[in-house]
């Protein structure tokens, strides 16, 4: 028997569709919307935070530096700080270049470089000179580094021209047998501490210390260094 044809009423009688259990899928709209929401909020948050950033990069000292030292690129680093009204007091990255300028006052490690602390041209291009002083082991502070301030004492060895120096000192009577240490330079700024390239130095080796002095101090420093062993005495920074 072939299938009978239903009356027309059955064809137009509509039933609502049955809502059936659906297996959860990875391509679920809600999951995709949730991930999209997450990414959008992340992007929006990052954008808002970046837009609210009012900091500006300025130059800062990367180590303790004494006045008189000529700044190199190893001495300075970039810091992002929020200055608002005080922004004009400091050296901004991209606007000012402190390399080659000379410090006029001492700065500690991490200090921002004020514009008033540097001055142009008092380094080698100006009146400053750099003299290398040989110092034997244990006659200099072990952690001596660039930017420190030292006093140079020389102990004249007997029979040398140091006797001429010793007559100038108050204790000149004892100069013939044992010469007293003489202060040659006070407050010289260390530019560099070098071990001569041996590579196996360390705190107990002889080093050469490059000091930055003014032109008129050079003669007395060199002569004094030639006179006898050198002792470097660290001066505490104010």
């Amino acid at each position: 028997m072939s299938e009978p044809a239903l009356p027309a009423a059955a064809a137009v009688a509509t039933s609502p569709t049955l809502a059936r259990l659906a297996r959860p899928r990875w391509s679920d709209t809600r999951l995709l919307l949730g991930v999209l929401l997450l990414l959008t909020s992340l992007a929006t948050g990052a954008h808002v935070m970046a837009g609210a950033d009012r900091t500006a990069p300025v130059w800062a000292a990367s180590r303790a530096l004494a006045p008189g030292i000529e700044l190199t690129s190893a001495d300075i680093e970039v810091r992002a700080v929020r200055l608002d009204a005080a922004a004009g007091n400091y050296l901004a990255v991209g606007v000012d270049d402190p390399v080659g300028l000379v410090l006029t006052r001492a700065v500690s490690a991490g200090d921002l470089l004020p514009g008033a602390a540097v001055a142009p041209g008092a380094g080698l291009a100006g009146q400053g000179r750099q003299v290398t002083v040989p110092v034997s082991a244990f006659h200099y502070p072990p952690d001596l580094s660039r930017g420190a301030v030292v006093d140079v004492y020389v102990t004249a060895s007997p029979g040398s021209a140091a006797s001429a120096l010793s007559t100038a000192s108050p204790a000149g009577v004892q100069a013939a047998t044992a010469a007293a240490p003489q202060l040659v330079i006070a407050g010289a700024v260390v530019v560099e501490v070098t071990d001569g390239g041996s590579g196996f130095g360390g705190p107990s080796a002889s080093v050469g210390v490059v000091l930055s002095v003014s032109a008129d101090q050079v003669a007395s420093l060199v002569g004094g260094v030639r006179a006898g062993p050198v002792d470097l005495v660290r001066v505490a920074q104010p």
């Binding site: 059955a10 509509t14 809502a19 059936r20």
Partner: protein
């Protein structure tokens, strides 16, 4: 009254429907109660008319001639005797005289056609063949009732798979759940809406307003060509599926779908007469009404010794409840474990010897596919079309459609 051919006495002027029902049921034996009701009697529905008929009372309704909707509704509710009068409120004037004359004429015309008490266990003839709404169209569809004994043999699985396979042959199919003990069709199909479609259709049938459109609105579309009437959500809602209302639903369903597959309950007992003095609501009325309305009954049994014993014991009761239907036996979960080697031969031999059933459809136990179907809330064809269980039921569907 004196002019009447037989003795007529006004037994009672009833106050309301409850009074009428109790009076009809308490009528003295040997007399034919006649209930004359107004079309506007409150709470008069299909169930009340069925109860009056079951008590053996003849129901005559007085309807205003101009109220066609009321007349149609009453006919749909099972009232066959309608008196159309001009003014039903006029009792004493000339209208009342004509009413009385018409009443006597109706009584004389029908004679003793409705004498005696109808057996409460069968749906009265005036229901199943009466001029209800929707019966004007030829009854083309066929009803398949899927029944099985107690013990979860797989009635719902077989009913859902069978309806799915019939719908896949491009014919309109309706799947319904008339189980009043453990309805599970909605859950097996993964339905998220728990509202009972069959209870809604029964309500409409009770009110006399069930037609093809109303039945389609109560059903839900699984896919084009397959509709579902979900069953009651809890077993204690069984009174909503009254036998008389369901009989109307299946009649209208024949106009909506070519195949109506109904998942029935397991119990066929009709011992309410033993348990109660008065006419009690029938717990298995839905199942019995469905089986009596069915053209084909698919009896599902579990293919193990206990399931076979239950099926074989209940088959005679099934045949007595529905003697005219064509019987198809399906054995579900066929496997060698509980039966022994060669389960097919053993099961068929047992059926032949003990039940006189010559052939049966054997559905193999395909646990994995059935579990996958239940987990997903889908039919076998949707989840595992290559399943052996699905193929056996597809063969049954083809056999039914071609028969």
């Amino acid at each position: 009254m004196d002019a009447a051919p037989r003795r007529l006495a006004v037994a009672r002027r009833c106050l309301d429907l409850a009074d009428l029902l109790s009076a009809a049921e308490a009528a003295a034996s040997g007399s034919q109660p006649v209930a004359v009701v107004s079309a506007t009697l409150p709470r008069l529905d299909g169930v009340a008319v069925a109860r009056l008929a079951a008590a053996g009372a003849m129901v005559i309704a007085v309807v205003d001639r101009s109220d066609a909707a009321a007349a149609a509704r009453l006919r749909a509710q099972g009232v066959t005797q309608l008196l159309l009068v001009d003014d039903p409120g006029d009792a004493t004037g000339p209208g009342g005289q004509s009413l009385l004359a018409a009443l006597l004429g109706a009584l004389a015309g029908t004679g003793a056609a409705h004498g005696g008490t109808g057996s409460p266990s069968t749906v009265p003839d005036q229901w199943s063949h009466g001029a209800g709404r929707g019966a004007a169209a030829p009854l083309l569809g066929r009803v398949v009732a899927v029944w099985g004994p107690v013990g979860a043999p797989g009635r719902t699985t077989v009913a859902a798979t069978l309806a799915d396979e019939l719908a896949r042959r491009q014919v309109e199919t309706l799947l319904a759940d008339a189980d009043t003990y453990g309805p599970s069709l909605g859950q097996v199909l993964g339905a998220l809406d728990e509202a009972s479609g069959l209870a809604a259709a029964a309500r409409d049938a009770n009110a006399g307003v069930l037609d093809v459109e109303a039945l389609a609105r109560s059903a839900r579309l699984l896919r084009p060509g397959l509709r579902v009437l979900t069953g009651v959500t809890r077993a204690d809602r069984w009174p909503e599926l009254h036998a008389s209302a369901l009989a109307v639903v299946w009649r209208v369903a024949r106009c909506l779908a070519v195949w109506t597959v109904v998942d029935c309950g397991f119990c066929l007992e009709q011992d309410e007469e033993i348990a109660y003095d008065t006419l009690a609501p029938r717990r298995n009325g839905a199942t019995i009404a469905t089986l009596q309305a069915a053209d084909v009954i698919v009896a599902v049994g579990a293919a193990d010794p206990v399931g076979m014993q239950r099926l074989i014991r209940m088959l005679p009761d099934l045949r007595s409840a529905a003697p005219r239907a064509e019987l198809r036996v399906v054995l579900n979960q066929v496997r060698s474990g509980p039966v022994g080697r060669g389960p097919d031969r053993r099961l068929l031999e047992g059926l032949q010897r003990y039940a006189g059933v010559e052939s049966a459809v054997l559905v193999p136990a395909d646990r994995d596919s059935l579990d996958a179907a239940m987990a997903a809330g889908r039919t076998l064809a949707e989840v595992a079309p290559a399943s052996s269980a699905r193929r056996s039921l597809m063969a049954l569907a083809v056999d039914l459609a071609d028969s």
